[in-house]
């Protein structure tokens, strides 16, 4: 018999009868689907037979990823990875299912199986093979599940006797990723071709070493190559440690044990998570919504098809079931020619933030969470685009709201269940800025400032105020808003002030943790410096659409550019502004003169800065809990005296508190007047409001007449194209069958 081709690919794959990656992925899917247990594992036989040995196995696995992080980021890393901790290492099954992860932004585990599935479906192991220690770069949303291209992944294969038995994965958020919009969130991209360095899974190295050409990519395709090359080495160094540890485990426990144990740990944690959900939640349906504005009109003249504003609708319901819970996003907007689109993998990375924190706290953090949290991302929606080239450069700006909705459902459940210590308002309001410049000597650089990404205010608990700066929904490791080395070293930018921003939170019986504000001063920018700002929720909308129990949702972030200032005069007076509130007050008083003052409640386009220009940001606020008129007056007085909520007229009206300053300048409560004021405000509530039935009639007339701004009109047109929201909308407003928001 003639042999057409005898080409022998020098991989162990063809040398032995091991299954292909595609076969393994399909078999994992089949067994899990048919049995409801991960890979068909119904009995935890290794654990039950010898639990000590089993736990020792897992602890060694876990120790390997922990050690990878704690070593690699001190071997070679950009300051961003080393100091802020926007990095993660993990080890997975051959199919990419997580077995263990380090500290860091752990929800990124969700993307691992997406990239491996793509490699399996495209026969990476067949042509031209996968060997131990191969290095793959991944930063594409569609094929790699990556949340946004600013997050860069290194996958390295772990092979044993010719078979892929796992992957070591390292991730970090790049300092700059080479898009037309400099920085690491290409805010104004209209499709993936503007997203910067986007890599579908591609092999860049062998035997745990990058190939020489790979360095040129960083140098030629990004603006912060030194930092990015350091991070590339960091990711690989950690993966090499994990690879080595995996081989030691294979040698110590044997391949048969290893292959069985890695299935059992995932099934074990899946069961634990389902059990936790049942223990903490109340079954039912929890609904939430959020909105994000994309303001492109007038900014996309080159790309005319993208030259419009879009109001993104984020809609989700959470419904616990016997296998965990279902998160359904149907009704959310459709994808668009903007940078805010998600992919299923990227959406997972957001959704799992709250789910891992809430339900995997007492078990192994594995792919078990992916089985317990079932997701529905409707095809064609912003979470599952049916256009293959969507941009997902600024996915987080809206998808983090999806996490907040899911997380708030957990808060509502724990509140109803009585576990009040777990119930708090979840936001996810972050801010950052990014840009590029050229110094006077011609040195070019790109940068991202993450300062308000490392620590935001935590929303109000149902029993006390939220705290400032103590958490970051996307990481367990809040850096309480530190300005790390890399943030203080952008050549022409200097900090004039960094503060909690007084009054900047959602109000309620308990207030949210205040947000933060910094004033950046541009000094001798050389030939050029310009920045943009992507944000997780800008103040034209609130972080989430629903407050908790009568509290107000946290406000979004904003920024102010003040270009052409008399700052030298203020420096001479020793009276420079330290936050957004102070800057605006100095402008109002005439102390600070500004030729071009702009307040940005949406992402700002590129702003070129010159000597003594100021850029002021505010982010990280969080929402309140409960009726503001139920707030203990003593807490209102304390906030006034501490400067946390400094506007007496505002808080007096908000909380119905009457106070006066004593000769020492301290606010003192007037108890009787406070009681009167609260009674008056309650009466005013009833006087100023309409019975819902009457309000409904008025609003329905507007809906029937489609009396909404064009962005809202298009938002409804998109969301009503999905049956679930269409039904809800029609039932609520009792609309005739021929009613439509579609364009005629």
């Amino acid at each position: 018999m003639a042999v057409i081709s005898e080409r022998v690919i020098p991989t162990a794959r063809t040398a032995t009868q091991v299954p292909t990656l595609r076969q393994m992925v399909n078999e994992r899917d089949r067994l899990t689907r048919e049995t409801g247990h991960y890979c068909g594992i119904k009995d935890l036989s290794l654990r039950d037979a010898d639990p000590i040995r089993y736990e020792r196995f897992y602890n060694k696995l876990h120790a390997a990823v922990l050690a990878a992080r704690e070593s690699a980021r001190f071997v070679a890393a950009s300051p961003g990875s080393r100091e802020m901790g926007e990095c993660l290492w993990g080890i997975t099954t051959p199919e990419g299912d997580t077995l263990a992860v380090s500290m860091g932004f752990l929800s990124h585990t969700a993307i691992f199986p997406v990239a491996i599935r793509y490699m399996a479906d495209n026969d990476y192991d067949v042509n031209d093979g996968i060997e131990d220690g191969d290095v793959y770069a991944v930063s594409d949303g569609k094929t790699g599940g990556v949340p946004h291209p600013g997050d860069f992944y290194s996958f390295t294969s772990i092979c044993h006797e010719g078979e892929v038995v796992g992957w070591a994965v390292g991730i970090n958020h790049l300092m700059e990723n080479g898009a037309p919009v400099a920085g690491s969130w290409a805010t104004f991209s209209v499709d993936t071709f503007m997203d910067g360095l986007v890599c579908p899974p591609m092999r860049t190295g062998r035997k745990l070493r990058q190939e020489s050409w790979w360095k040129a990519i960083w140098e030629r395709r990004t603006r912060a190559s030194t930092m990015n090359i350091l991070d590339d080495k960091m990711r690989l160094a950690g993966c090499a440690m994990i690879n080595d540890a995996a081989h030691q485990l294979l040698a110590e426990f044997g391949a048969e044990y290893y292959k069985r144990a890695i299935r059992e740990v995932i099934e074990e944690s899946r069961r634990m998570i389902v059990d936790n959900m049942r223990a903490l939640m109340v079954p039912g349906t929890y609904n939430g919504c959020a909105f994000r504005l994309v303001k492109y009109e007038g900014l996309q003249n080159v790309w005319s098809h993208a030259n419009k504003n879009t109001l993104i609708h984020v809609r989700a319901s959470v419904e616990p079931n016997d296998n965990g819970l279902m998160l359904d996003t149907e009704g959310s907007s459709r994808w668009g020619y903007h940078s805010y689109n998600a992919t299923p993998g990227g959406a997972d990375a957001a959704v799992f933030l709250g789910m891992i924190n809430s339900f995997a706290h007492n078990t192994k953090v594995t792919a078990g969470i992916e089985l317990a949290v079932q997701r529905h991302y409707a095809p064609g929606s912003i979470y599952n685009p049916d256009y293959e080239f969507t941009s997902n450069a600024n996915l987080w700006a809206q998808t983090v709201a999806l996490n907040s909705i899911g997380f708030n459902a957990v808060s509502r459940a724990t509140f109803s269940r009585g576990y009040l210590e777990e119930a708090f308002t979840v936001d996810g309001n972050w801010g950052a800025f990014q840009g590029a410049g050229t110094t006077a000597d011609g040195t070019s650089y790109g940068f991202t400032n993450f300062e308000w990404l490392g620590g935001t205010g935590r929303g109000a608990w149902c029993y006390k105020d939220g705290e400032p700066l103590v958490w970051a929904a996307w990481s367990q490791i809040a850096t309480i808003g530190d300005a790390e080395e890399f943030e203080a070293c952008v050549p022409p930018l200097f900090y004039l002030g960094r503060k909690l921003l007084p009054g900047y939170f959602g109000y309620g019986k308990y207030r949210g943790g205040p947000g933060n504000s910094a004033v950046h001063w541009c000094v001798e920018p050389g030939k050029h410096v310009a920045l943009t700002r992507p944000n997780g929720g800008l103040s034209c909308t609130t972080s989430v659409g629903l407050g908790m129990s009568g509290g107000y949702p946290g406000p979004g972030s904003f920024m102010i550019s003040a270009r052409g200032t008399n700052l030298p005069d203020l420096i001479a007076e020793g009276e420079t502004p330290r936050d957004a509130r102070e800057l605006l007050a100095q402008v109002d008083s005439g102390q600070l003169t500004v030729e071009n003052l702009e307040i940005w409640k949406t992402d700002c386009p590129e702003l070129a800065l010159h000597d003594h220009d100021l850029f002021v940001d505010a982010a990280g606020s969080s929402g309140g809990w409960g009726d503001p008129l139920d707030r203990n007056p003593a807490l209102v007085i304390k906030d006034l005296n501490d400067g946390v909520a400094p506007d007496y007229d505002f808080v007096s009206r908000m909380h119905g508190v009457v106070a006066a300053q004593n000769p020492a300048g301290e606010w003192v409560l007037d108890v009787a007047a406070t009681a009167e004021k609260r009674a008056a405000l309650r009466k005013a509530r009833l006087d100023d409001s309409l019975p819902a039935a009457e309000w409904w009639q008025q609003e329905r007339a507007k809906v029937l007449a489609k009396q909404v701004v064009p962005e809202v009109h298009e938002m409804y047109s998109q969301s009503l194209s999905f049956a679930k929201f269409d039904g809800e909308f029609r039932r609520f407003w009792q609309l005739p069958a021929d009613f439509s928001f579609s364009k005629e």
Binding site: T285, G418, G545
Partner: protein, 192 residues
């Protein structure tokens, strides 16, 4: 075993009142497994704090409950005793509603000024108890947005499967959103 821990009603009352100290909060948050009898103790504490005799089935908000009233109906009920009707209908539609549409109106609830949502794209809705004026909910949504039914509990499943104490009035249609019954009625009134 931590799973068998019992948390006193005094501590639960402190959580409800907001007087719990940080040490005890941390202790509760760090339980590897939550105390399984918390819900029943919680409801008992809540029941002792309301002025009405109806049985609390679930707490929905600071001052809002699902309760079984004297007519054996499961209704949403305010601390003050006001009933919002069948818990399967969105209770917000039993509220009085105030909407903030302009920047000046929003400025009264968001500070500093640049933190205000954008009029036209968003509006702030406040939902009040028509009897005691408690603000039970706030929505910041696009104009025309359907009022959000924040949570429809499946009480039968909860009591039967989660707590092991089935409710005596179990029925197939307790976990059904009936909000449309109300809006359909309103629409009929609108058209005469």
């Amino acid at each position: 075993m931590a799973g068998e821990a019992t948390i006193s009603k005094e501590l639960i009352a402190q959580l409800i009142e907001g007087t719990i100290d940080d040490d005890n909060t941390n202790r509760l948050q760090r339980l590897p497994r939550k105390d399984q009898d918390r819900f029943l103790n919680y409801v008992a504490v809540l029941q002792s704090r309301v002025s009405w005799p109806d049985q609390i089935l679930l707490r929905l908000g600071d001052r809002l409950y699902v309760a079984r009233n004297g007519n054996n109906q499961r209704v949403v009920k305010c601390d003050c005793g006001h009933e919002f009707g069948d818990y399967r209908q969105n209770w917000k539609l039993g509220c009085k509603v105030r909407v903030r549409r302009t920047l000046a109106e929003m400025r009264e609830v968001y500070d500093p000024a640049p933190a205000c949502p954008e009029p036209g794209w968003q509006e702030v809705r406040e939902f009040f108890c028509p009897q005691c004026a408690t603000q039970h909910a706030v929505e910041v949504v696009a104009p025309g947005y359907p009022v959000v039914f924040e949570m429809l509990p499946d009480l039968d499943k909860f009591y039967r499967d989660y707590l092991g104490q089935p409710l005596p009035d179990e029925a197939d249609d307790w976990y059904v959103d009936r909000t449309e019954h109300l809006t359909r009625h309103w629409a009929a009134n609108a058209t005469g």
